[in-house]
Every structure is written in structure tokens, then in C-alpha cells.
């Protein structure tokens, strides 16, 4: 690959990294897993003057749960780490369902969870999961730390709210309100393909009632879509064919797909509906079986 000329720095502390980003004055890019950035450099779609490689920073590779059940994912946690984490498979079904579907096995060994969120690709899997889970992103900059809800994090296609000198240091998933349930389904033409359409569902259940729900849609709009009405329609009720149908219809209505070589707009909307219903039906069946 022959990218445009850039300066490369590999700081060893967060403070140093932030100082470099300040110097970069908006012309700097952070290099974590590089699985989106490197192709952009290769194609010269991105031509940053400075690359700040954060792979050498200490304390960013944590994947842990707080005593209250909050899950924290550090900026250097790779997709593969999440896929293999028993913490995730035991406690966080939405993330666990999406993990094996992110890109392909090669990308998963390098790409990072937080990097994927920052990249703000409407086809990204993790942003949908984080929105469905009411997650947030912790950013650190010259003026200290702040926490940004996932659904406010992305401002447009490939755009997020971070200031040029801020680094997203971790993603935070709040504890479930009851029992955590969820799923993720993606239609792709081939492994590693961007989604034709995908749906992330999170639903916390307490005493057979949905206590909290989130549904987010991938690849069917200019950004990840928060299907709020669809999710809200489930809250405070039991799952059942009617509730599922209603939520699936609302999710399909929330989609704003465009036709392309992956499929027509109406087909993608149909897939959103089908996948929403499939995840919820599966969830309903498994909880009934457990009961």
C-alpha cells in the first residue's frame, strides 16, 4: 500500500497520546486495531498528517465486570477477545451473539471494539449492540474524562462527537434490569461482508415482563438506527406473538434503507422485520423453556 505521507508516533502514556493529538490539531488519527483506518489510508480516502498509535498505552486492554454488573471494555480489547470471553458469553447475550459475526476471523484478531464504535460506520456491528444495551463511551481529553451515551456518540456517517484531542478509552455496558436477554442477527453475502441488514436486540426480563429493551439496526440508514419505538413497545409487557409482531413492524418502520447491490430497500426492511421477530421469538421460546 502506498498511502500519503504521514508522521507516526507511538506514545507510551495516555497523557502523551492526548498531547500528540493536541499537536495534531485535527489532522491526527488514532491507530488502534487499524482494520478500518489502514484500508482508508491505502485507498487515500484518509490522509492524516499524524498517526498516534495507542497500542503501547497501558491499562486499555481490560474486559471486566464491576460488582454491580457493569461491563467495561477497554480501548485495546480486540473483537477476538470478546468472542472468547466467558464473561461475555455468560452475562451479555447481545454482545455474545454479535461477536462471531463481526468481520472475519483475521480482522477480529486485530480490530478493537472501541475503535469500531469510533469509526461510526453505519454498517458497524458494535454500535448497534451498544445502542440496544444503553451503553456509553468514556472519552479522555485535555480537560479530563466524560461519559457519552452510545446513542448520542455518533453524529453522522463516519462521524462522532469526540473532540480532536479526545481518546475513547472504554465502552461501558450498564447492568441489566433483571435478567439479560438478547440476540444479534446479520445477513451478509459472505463472511466479512458488510451487513445487507442486521438487527441487535437487548431485552431485560423480570418476572416474565420486559423491564428494559433496546433494538438497533445496522446497514439500513446513514447511521446506526435506534429503533426506540419498537423497543419501547415491548417494555412492561410479556413477550408473545402479538408483542413480537408489533415490535418487528415498528423496527421495520424505523429503517431507512437504500437499494444497492446487496439488496433492495424493501428487502432490507423486510429483513429487519424478520430478524427482529426471529430474535424475539427465539428469546420468548428460550425463556419459556427455562420457566
Amino acid at each position: 500500500m502506498y498511502p500519503s505521507r504521514f508522521r507516526y508516533e507511538a506514545p507510551t502514556s495516555l497523557e502523551e497520546a492526548i498531547a500528540l493529538l493536541q499537536q495534531g490539531a485535527g489532522e491526527a488519527k488514532i491507530l488502534a486495531g487499524g482494520q478500518s483506518l489502514i484500508p482508508l489510508l491505502k485507498l487515500r480516502f484518509a490522509a492524516p498528517e499524524l498517526l498516534v498509535d495507542i497500542n503501547g498505552l497501558p491499562g486499555l486492554d481490560h474486559l471486566v465486570a464491576d460488582p454491580d454488573g457493569t461491563i467495561r471494555i477497554g480501548a485495546l480489547v480486540r473483537h477476538e477477545h470478546i468472542e472468547r470471553s466467558t464473561l461475555i458469553t455468560e452475562r451479555q447475550p447481545t454482545i455474545a451473539a454479535a461477536a462471531p459475526l463481526v468481520a472475519d476471523p483475521i480482522v477480529r484478531t486485530r480490530g478493537t471494539f472501541v475503535g469500531s464504535l469510533c469509526h461510526a460506520d453505519p454498517q458497524g456491528d458494535w454500535a448497534a449492540c451498544m445502542i440496544a444495551l444503553d451503553g456509553s463511551i468514556v472519552a479522555q481529553g485535555p480537560n479530563g474524562r466524560r461519559t457519552i451515551p452510545a446513542r448520542e456518540f455518533v453524529t453522522g456517517t463516519f462521524e462522532n462527537v469526540l473532540d480532536p484531542a479526545e481518546i475513547a478509552v472504554e465502552a461501558v455496558i450498564p447492568p441489566p434490569q433483571g435478567e439479560a436477554h438478547g440476540g444479534y442477527l446479520k445477513l451478509e453475502r459472505r463472511i466479512g461482508d458488510f451487513a445487507t441488514a442486521a438487527v441487535a436486540v437487548a431485552a431485560d426480563l423480570r418476572d416474565g415482563q420486559v423491564s428494559r429493551a433496546g433494538i438497533a439496526l445496522v446497514g439500513v440508514g446513514a447511521t446506526t438506527i435506534d429503533a426506540r419505538e419498537a423497543a419501547d413497545s415491548l417494555v412492561d409487557g410479556a413477550l408473545g406473538p402479538e408483542a413480537i409482531d408489533r415490535a418487528a413492524d415498528l423496527a421495520a418502520e424505523a429503517a431507512h434503507p437504500r437499494s444497492d447491490h446487496r439488496g433492495s430497500a424493501s428487502y432490507k426492511r423486510h429483513i429487519v422485520r424478520t430478524f427482529t421477530a426471529r430474535i424475539l421469538t427465539q428469546l420468548d421460546r428460550s425463556t419459556q423453556k427455562a420457566a
Partner: protein
Amino acid sequence: MAIDEIKIGGMGARQRRVEDNRFIRGKGNYVDDIVLPGMLHMEILRSPVAHARIRSIDVSRAWEIPGVRLVLTGEMLAARNLAWMPTLSYDTQAVLATDKVRFQGQEVAAVVADDPYIAKDACEAIVVDYEPLPVIVNPDQAMAPDAPLIRDDKVNQHDNRVFDWEVGDRERTEQAFAEADVVSTLELHYPRSHPSPIETCGSIADFDRSTEKLTVYMTTQAPHIIRAAVAMVAELPEHMIRIISPDIGGGFGNKVPVYPGYVVSILASILTERPVKWIEDKTGNLISTGFGRDIYLKGELALRSDGRILGVRMHTTSDHGAFFSDAQPSKFKVGLMHSAFACYDIPTAHLTATGVYTNKAPGGVAYRCSFRVTEAMYFQERMVHAAADDLGIDQAEIRRRNFVRDDDFPHRTAFGFLTDSGQYTKCLDLGLEAVDYEGFLREKEEARKQGRLLGIGISTMTEPLGAGNSREYDILGIKMFDAAELRVHMTGKAILRTGAKTQGQGHETTWAQIVAHELGIPANDVVVEEGDTDTAPFGMGTYASRSTPVAGAAVSMVARKIRAKARKIAAHLLEVSEEDIEWELGRFYVRSAPDRGVTIQECAMAAYSNVPDGMEPGLENHAYYDPPNLTWPFAAYIATVEVDPETGVWDVLRVVAVDDCGVRINPMIVEGQIMGGLTEAYAMSSMQFITFDADGNCIGSNYMDYLLPTAWETPGFELHEVVTPCPHHPIGAKGVGECATVGGPAAFVNAVMDALKDTGVRNIDMPLLPDRVHRALTTGADVSGAPPVDPDAP
């Protein structure tokens, strides 16, 4: 005791591929691995738009970048009469655009610099002022009365038609249709695809002013054709041109044509007097170099109600892009499309063909295919499938009723080919048994009651592989035959050279096995070299599955010449007359005293140390082989699928392949070729295509959009074989490298169509994306895949 042929790696031995040793160790030597002293690097600036007049090109800022050695535009080439070059189909193609750009990705300018980074920076500094013109991306647009003229550079070109062509018997075919009980029709599009070798195209041109010799390291499947082409285009004497094709990372037909990058790198080296390397990037390869397919069919079968096909009528419309640069024998305008229906005994057939220019990349190369045979067999097997449905006859049975019989060879096809041999029914029945056809039909019926959609697809075909003969087959007038040269050294070891060029097919292993078979010299004692025009004998290169049918036959023939000479030496050593000598593998012996013998190695030693009086020393020879006919392998591919009615997603359940490619030299390599071909067939049927939007933007310009299947998606393949030796090939072999790519797609598509039989849908264009299958399921209508893609469609 005769030698055990398998032990010496002869015919039928599952020899490990000797070339893999270096490939697996990362020690292959590809064009981009070659570094010459003082070498410069070239980058090509490509057009971002599909059709536009060039108002101006400003290269001044590019020249200002330190390290830039040369900036070339079409105007500068025109001054040297090099702005246009001939294609392999008697058209012309712009090397660097002068007047207009005619497709997105067309070569507009080139920069030569100290390193590739600088060259790329400088390309970005070139300012081109484009005046946009209306864009054409399909034949309907091309032939519309008010269509803009794409090739206004050509005298007497008044519309976007490239050619009209026909073959077959129009009148007799019309008669057959008049007498038919049923006429079955089908319209479909075989989408544009790309061979997409993992290694892109590239060259290093090295013109030495002191010797006047031009050496070009090049990714080419046909180095000798390139030498001739360079001699003609660049007007350099042929003996002063040396083309070296080192290791090649896949070709699949993509590396047959001459590309602008090669030509410009040669000129750049002549002008700078330094070696100039050009390596295309992946996008450059996908958007500008030889594509495959992109052809439309209107097909009709005249049928008797008992299933017999009385006549075939086909009209094809091929989309050639901006320049007609199909790599194909010059006699035939749509390749060997008229090889369609060769496995069926049909009284008459007629094909008309129209070619059109569009604002798309040129090409029409034989992508793992013997010149549009892939399209021919796909059309054939889709038409046969539709005919069976129309008649209510079983898919397998309609084929059986029409196959050419085993005792009817050689068989003249309705389009005039002469097929050589085969056991078609045996192959199909073996496949049906392997897949448990009857059992599957029952299973399918059961599943249907539960709302599940199962389907089974059959594709049977024979295809012409191994062009020439030279009477009928030539490219640019260069006749299609091949040569081999064998030098047996004093110690019985040997070097073999051919005019073919391996790109992964395993020639280095296979050719040595043929020598082992003919001479009894162990395959491991034979080194194979190809690709250097200064050392290799002439040949037309490797594509269209012609290596074993043509070059492989030449290997046999040269080895037999060696054996003939060795026999004379053996007679001399054994002090008997030649007539008293018998041959067994690796050894001559006296007929009356079999214990008295000499090995081929002993003969080799004597050839250099003890030849009979009057004999030239040495044990070397060469042979040219002009095949009497094409070879005609047969294949039956059967796929079973399940379609998810809710999403249109389909999964392959089983794939059974029965290949009869005659005698198998290295069964392992043959099986690898078949699996590779089936993988590509699966890719084309399920996911792989290049399409365009209405503005002519290429969709499929990178590996995120142009999909190669991974091990994850690719189904397992169950391989079976039947062996009908080729009657006219010295060792009974037929071509095989492309059979599965050619015959495979229809098996998958027919399987999905079978699953959708109740909907009344006759056709979904490839690739059968879930979206398309779902649309067919919900609307009951055929689904076209023709461009453009409309983002505003519902």
C-alpha cells in the same frame, strides 16, 4: 522387471506438486519480487468518470514533485504513434486517453518516479478537466436510437454496435420450430464477473540502450504472444525482445491480453533508459482489466412432447465495454458460444449474436473458460432445465433422452463441432446414484408439506478444450499450437521447457510426470521451465484449458522422439539390430533375451560418450504439436439446496461432481482443479458480480464489493470420475481446468429454480442473492440482474 510407474511419479501418480515447496515457503518469485538496479516505479492515473471529453490535462504540478522522472499523457504517446494499440479482437484500445475517457478506471496519464509513493502523490497532482457525457451501461441503452456514440474515434462507426454474427442453419432451424410440439423460451443475463487473480497485473520493462535489447518481466499467461504483440506495437525487432513471465499468482484468463500499463512501462523504460516497474493495485485490476461474461441470451428450444430437442435458437447480446478486446480465436466473434448443446444429439441449431460497446471496462476474456464456453453451457443447461419444466419431464430424463450415444462418436454437433468421445449417460447416472436422486425427490416432497423449499439442480455438458487445431484457431493470425523441448543430460536427468506458462496449474509437476510415463525417467529427475521467451520454445500460452491437450501432448511427442533416438543407442550398446529391441518403461531389452537390456539412463550416458558411428551426439529434441481437434471432456454436476422462504437465503446441501476428462495424469491436481472450479461456480451463482450504477460507477471495485468465497461459505464437494480416453491425444488426456467453472453455475441455479418451481418463476439472474430469490418468491416474476443498480428503487 518393469519399473512401477506410480513409484517414479508417472501417469496416475498423486505426486505432490513440486512448485508448492517454494510457494508454501513464501519463496515464489513474482514480478513484484524482482528488483533491478536503478529501477523506477510507475503509477497510472485513472479516470474517475465513465464517459467524458478531456478538455485539458495539466501535469505541471506533478513535474514539480521531487523524485518524479517522467510524466506521460496520451498526447505524448500520440506523438510516438502509441496512444492507441490493437486489441486481440482486431479493435483498437486507448493506451492513455487522448480525446475522451470511455469507462471509469480508464488510463489517463502515468508518472514514473523514484518510488511508488512519489509516483502516487504525483498522480494526485495531475489536474484533468473532464466534460461529462451521457453514460451507457447496458445493451438497451447502447442500441437506443439517440444513444451517444462511444467510439467516435473510429471511422465508419455510426452506432455502438461492435458486430453482428451468426452460425448454424437458419432455415432448417426455422423448420424445426415450425414442427415443434412445444417451444420453450428463456431470457437471461450472465453477469459481468472478473477473474480476479490474487496477484494483479504488472511489469518491469528494462530497455538496455547499449544492447538495444528490451527485457520485460510480466504477468502474462502467454509470453510468446506478448513478444509478437510488442514487436508489432512498439515496432521493435522480435529478437531484441525478451518476455519473462516469472511465477504468476493466478491468471484465469485475466493475464492474456496486453494492457496499457505494460505498454506505458515499456515506453517509460525506453525514454528513461532505466528499468520501470508497474504493479497494478487491486482496484486497478478489478476496474480496468479483462472481465468475463456480461452477455444476454434469448434462447428457444423446439421440443417434441416426448422431450426430444428438435432445434435450438439462440440470440446473444454481449456487452464488450468501450473496446472490443475479447481474447479469443479470431474467427469467432462470441468465442465458442456455438459449442452450446454439444453433448446433445440435436438436428439443427442457429445462433445470432450482437456485440455492443458500453462505457465499461473492456475485456471479455475467457475467465477460467474456453472462450465463452462458460456462458454457452450455462445458457444450455438453464434452457434444458426450463424445457423439462415446460414439458413436465424429469430433469435427468430429458437429458438422457437427448444425449449423444456412446457409440455415436465422433459426433458432428448441430453447430458443426466434432466431439470426440464420451459416456454421458454413465456419468449422469453415477452422479444421480451418488446423490440418491430418488431419495432426494422424496425428501423434497416431504419437506414441501412442511413449508420447506428443497431443490435439486443438474448440469451436464461437454466442452471444447485445447485450441487449436491451427487451421481454425488463431489469435491475431498467430496459429494455436504449442511446443516442448526436452534435454536429457548425461546422467539421465532432464530439463523440459514448453511454450505454455503455469499460473498455479502445476505444470512443473504434471509435465515431469508425462516424461516419466514416456521415458521411465523419474519425475523428480525432470525440471520444468516455462515463461522465458529467450529459452522456451514457442507456444500460445496457458488458458482455455489448453495446457494438457496441446503443450502436454507436445511433451509426450518430444519424449517419444527422445525414446526413438535412445532406441538406436540401445541397439548399439546391446549390439543387436534396432528391430530386435523391445521397450518397457525405463528400459530397452533384447526381445529374445529380456535379461539383456539397458536403462534409459544408460542410453543417456552413451548419447554423450558412446554414440554409434554417424549419429549426432546428445539426447535433446523438440516437438511442435498441432492438435487434430479440441478435446471434449464431459461433466455432470448435481447440487441440492434448501431455500429459506422467509429471507430468500439458500444453503447448499450437497454437491456431486462426475468428471470425465479422459486419462488423469495427476489425479490430485485434477481434483484440485475441479474443486477450485466448483468454488468459482458457486461464487458466480451466489455472490460474485460486477455491476454499475447509472453513472457508470463500477460496483465491485474492491474485495468488499467483489466477493470471493472463503472456506466458510464454500460447500463441500463430492468428486467422482469416469475415464473415456481422448482418442486423438497422445496419452488420452482431455482438458479439465475449467470444466467445473463452466458446468457448475447451472447446477446451483437450477437447484434454486427447482426449489422455486411452484412459484412459476422461470429465471433469476446470477448471482442469486437472497434479495433476488426473495423477490422471485414474493412476486412470482423473473428477476433481472442487468445494470444499472438504482439506489432509489423501492
